[in-house]
């Protein structure tokens, strides 16, 4: 391994990182630079600090406490490490080693240098001194029996870095195809996001214990009230009151202790199982075992983690060699079998989605709507964003259904749950729709260059989302109707209400797209280097204007609730009738305002095209 090459690789990674920061703005570059320098500077104090903290805290803790501390350290480290990985994946520069293989560097050197230089990450600079300091404290406090924690830490770091490196190599060969690249980026992000939801799912696992404790407190308060009432009514004397009160408190303490102990046992069991099953838990498990005087778990952990790390490195090396010999490139350049298998002339007879007509709509509107829908359904990042309302609904819905009171809600609250579901769907597509042109990127030029009326373009853009949004809303409404059934007329009223909600939402989304467009990098989900004014305008849209525009759609339900509560009219589906009326009014407003928005759009289209097609905007 050539030292000069190593320096060059380290420098390259550093420059790529700095340039990435710089692209996000001068302030961000300075901030990140300060953080990077600060991390290096605080590495030594972190080592000393964690050692000192460990020396003070370890004598008080049990082996199980040590396991929890190490679990916390491992999870925190992995969150930082994976965040860095996701950020690196979303960068435009591919991670491929193929960029280096044409240079005068041997394959083995290129592999090793790239691996070692990949260790230059903030998470490693911060966490390794911390973990090392804490390990030294363990040895210092508990004695030589804890010495295996040091090789276990090294094996853990080897395993994580080697697995990540192998993963990156595999991804880079996958990402030679730009279509797959976007899929990979989105899949990794989804896994990361879902993984971050695990703690809340786990906490809901322990919810029954917390619920029973709350129930117990309520019971105690009730019994004490009863006791006080009886004492006030002179049913017994003060001595009897004191005796009964003590009995109540003692009973409660016993029950609390029992509940705490059950919870603690459950957490302990779950933690031990998770540590045993997941290789990342072997380091904490080894520490616990060593603290209890058992070396076998630690030694097995070291062996297992070293084996995984070595196997990953070996596999990554084979991938590198394969790439050098052109295997990956050859596979990537082959035409897809799907194309080859397509019979000639098939396209002549089959009607494309984009060729279909939509009754009542002009040709440009239909083309824009169907083209937009086709793009949406093919774009992995859009699909992920469109799925998010369903994921949110499942998460929140499960939590709600676990609650005891949902089946007892009144007739007036049930439609509100349906409205809430529709609101979640709209909120889920808000990011996409409030920057409709941003997701077109270069394709937006075709709208500026076209002779289509700008009103038609906006209408087509809005309609592109309609089937997806309506489909998701329907799924959620049916689910709500199954789990929290509402009256038939209320259920039917949801449909015109949804049309009103969607059209008002479209008007807001159009304004936001016209006045706060932002460039979105291909395969990405977020704005690239957005201006503060744009961020503020979008925050205003999301946080204030979106809920505000939806409030009027609650009027029909509110009016029915008022009428029925006063007993003015009975047996008339007021909510349904008013929803239909409201829908007609909103359609009229939408038609009127859309022409006005078309004019606005035309007056700003050149500014929009500058922004949405320019990655530096």
């Amino acid at each position: 391994m050539n030292w000069q090459h190593f320096q060059a690789f380290v420098w390259l990674r550093w420059r790529m990182m700095v340039n990435q920061w710089r692209r996000a703005g001068a302030f961000n570059a300075v901030l990140m630079m300060v953080i990077a320098v600060g991390a290096v500077v605080v590495a030594v104090p972190l080592l000393i600090g964690s050692f000192a903290l460990g020396v003070n805290a370890i004598p008080k803790g049990t082996p199980m406490h040590l396991l929890y501390v190490w679990d916390g350290l491992v999870v925190a480290f992995l969150v930082f490490w994976m965040t860095g990985l996701v950020m690196e994946l979303q960068r435009s520069e591919p991670l491929s080693l193929s960029k280096f293989l044409h240079l005068p560097v041997s394959v083995k050197s290129a592999f090793l240098i790239n691996y070692f230089s990949s260790l230059l990450r903030l998470s490693l600079i911060i966490f390794v001194p911390m973990m090392f300091g804490y390990s030294l404290a363990l040895v210092f406090v508990k004695g030589a029996m804890l010495l295996p924690v040091l090789p276990a830490l090294a094996a853990f770091l080897l395993m994580v870095t080697a697995l990540t490196y192998q993963f990156q190599g595999w991804l880079s060969s996958l990402m030679n195809n730009p279509r797959r690249r976007r899929l990979v980026v989105v899949a990794v992000t989804v896994i990361f996001v879902l993984g971050s939801q695990l703690p809340s799912l786990l906490s809901s696992n322990f919810a029954p214990f917390l619920t029973s404790q709350a129930e117990q407190s309520r019971q105690l308060a009730k019994e004490m009230d009863e006791l006080n009432r009886a004492f006030q009514a002179h049913e017994f004397d003060a001595n009897e009151y004191t005796r009964r009160l003590k009995e109540l408190v003692d009973h409660d303490e016993l029950a609390t202790k029992q509940s705490d102990s059950e919870l603690s046992e459950q957490v302990e069991e779950s933690a031990l199982l998770a540590n045993l099953v997941l290789p990342i838990g072997w380091l904490p498990l080894g520490v616990k075992g060593a603290a209890e005087g058992r070396l076998i778990p630690a030694l097995l952990g070291i062996l297992g983690m070293t084996l995984i790390g070595s196997a990953s490195l070996w596999r990554a090396y084979r991938t590198t060699v394969g790439m050098y010999q052109g295997q990956a490139t050859a596979r990537g350049s082959q035409p897809s079998s799907r194309v080859a298998a397509t019979p000639a002339g098939l396209g002549k007879t089959r009607t494309l989605l984009l060729e279909r007509r939509i009754p009542g709509l002009s040709e440009p509107v239909a083309a824009i709507a169907l083209g937009g829908l086709r793009s949406l359904l093919r774009s992995p990042e859009a699909k992920m964003m469109l799925l998010s309302p369903l994921i949110m609904a499942v998460l929140f819905g499960t939590m709600l259904l676990r609650g005891s009171g949902l089946q007892n809600v009144s007739d007036w609250i049930r439609p509100l749950i349906g409205v809430g579901a529709m609101f979640v769907v709209l909120a889920g597509v808000l990011q996409l729709m409030s920057n409709q042109f941003g997701f077109d990127r270069g394709g937006f030029r075709i709208f500026v260059l076209s002779a289509a009326s700008r009103r038609d373009i906006l209408l087509g853009k809005n309609l592109a989302f309609a089937p997806v949004v309506a489909g998701m809303a329907l799924v959620l409404l049916v689910a709500v109707q199954v789990f929290v059934p509402m009256r038939v007329d209320h259920f039917l009223a949801m449909f015109p209400q949804f049309v009103s909600m969607f059209l008002l939402f479209c008007l807001l989304a159009n304004l936001s797209s016209i006045y706060a467009p932002a460039y979105i990098a291909a395969g990405s989900l977020s704005h690239s280097k957005p201006k503060m004014s744009v961020v503020l305008r979008q925050m205003l849209t999301v946080g204030i204007l979106f809920p505000l525009t939806q409030v009027p759609t609650l009027l029909p339900l509110g009016i029915e609730a008022l009428i029925k509560s006063q007993g003015w009219i009975e047996q008339v589906p007021v909510y349904l009738i008013l929803s239909l009326l409201q829908c007609a009014v909103v359609v009229l407003i939408y038609r009127l305002l859309l022409s006005w928005q078309g004019g606005l759009f035309q007056s700003r289209e050149q500014q929009i095209v500058e922004i949405v097609t320019n990655r530096e905007s």
């Binding site: 793009s375 774009s379 500014q607 097609t613």
Partner: protein, 256 residues
């Protein structure tokens, strides 16, 4: 004179930088107009302004007799224009056939016409064997060809082509040249920028040269050449510095 493009003091500033400084273009209908200039001279900025992709900072511009600064008139002009912009205007997630169908419908073309022309364009431009691929999987040359197909699809009266031959293979380049020659022969107009002077010399009837945002020369090709080659004239106008190549004399040394 029947002009397809006419500008008066057309200007575009980016903050303090003047990209196009008051140019007066006059492109007659039925001509093949080559718009030349060194990198950063203002060619693409001019095309963007003429096609409505960029608002001018000042000046007047008429395209096909329509005032492009007037929203309604600019739409009228766009109905008769085809454009290959500098960075293209494709949608990543559509196939070539879908994209052309989309463009055709935006131009209110009948469905059968779109189908037939799409078929022919994909075949002529050798895109038919990759029509199942999304455009994001295309090479740069293939994207250029698809943009060319989209520009030709509505059979416009005026074509704006920004570097149409860049990254395109020799066979397709020949096909495009023939297509464009026939197109102009029928009375339509092409406004083209290219760095390949041989192509401009072979195709264009008229030439304009822009340097540092100023139109330094325009007119019929023969007049511009002044008996020499277009390259000589262009280099003369662009102020090429032959001294700079002499500074790299270490390239003459034998490799160690």
């Amino acid at each position: 004179m029947n002009l397809a493009i006419e500008t008066h003091q057309l200007t575009r500033n980016f903050n303090d930088f003047c990209a196009v400084g008051g140019i007066d273009l006059a492109v007659e209908r039925g001509t093949f107009y080559g718009f030349l200039g060194p990198n950063g001279a203002g060619k693409s900025t001019t095309i963007k302004m003429l096609t409505g992709l960029l608002a001018p900072s000042g000046g007047r511009m008429l395209v096909l007799g329509k005032n492009m600064r007037d929203p309604k008139e600019s739409l009228d002009a766009k109905r008769h224009m085809g454009v290959i912009p500098e960075d293209l205007a494709l949608f990543d997630n559509l196939t070539a056939r879908e994209y052309l169908t989309f463009v055709g419908r935006i131009h209110l073309m009948p469905r059968d016409t779109i189908r037939n022309r799409t078929e022919e364009l994909l075949s002529v431009l050798a895109l038919d064997d990759v029509e199942k691929k999304l455009t994001l999987e295309y090479s740069h040359g293939m994207k250029k060809k698809l943009a060319m197909a989209a520009a030709l699809l509505p059979n416009p009266d005026l074509l704006f082509l920004d570097e149409p031959f860049e990254g395109v293979d020799a066979v397709t380049s020949r096909v495009i040249r023939d297509l464009l020659s026939g197109y102009v022969a029928r009375g339509s107009t092409v406004f083209l920028t290219s760095h390949v002077l041989e192509i401009v010399e072979r195709l264009c009837t008229h030439v304009g040269i822009i340097v540092k945002g100023k139109l330094v020369e325009q007119g019929p090709l023969a007049t511009i050449r002044q008996g020499g080659t277009l390259e000589d004239r262009f280099l003369q106008q662009a102020g090429a510095d032959s001294e700079s190549t002499r500074k790299l004399n270490w390239l003459d040394e034998a490799a160690s």
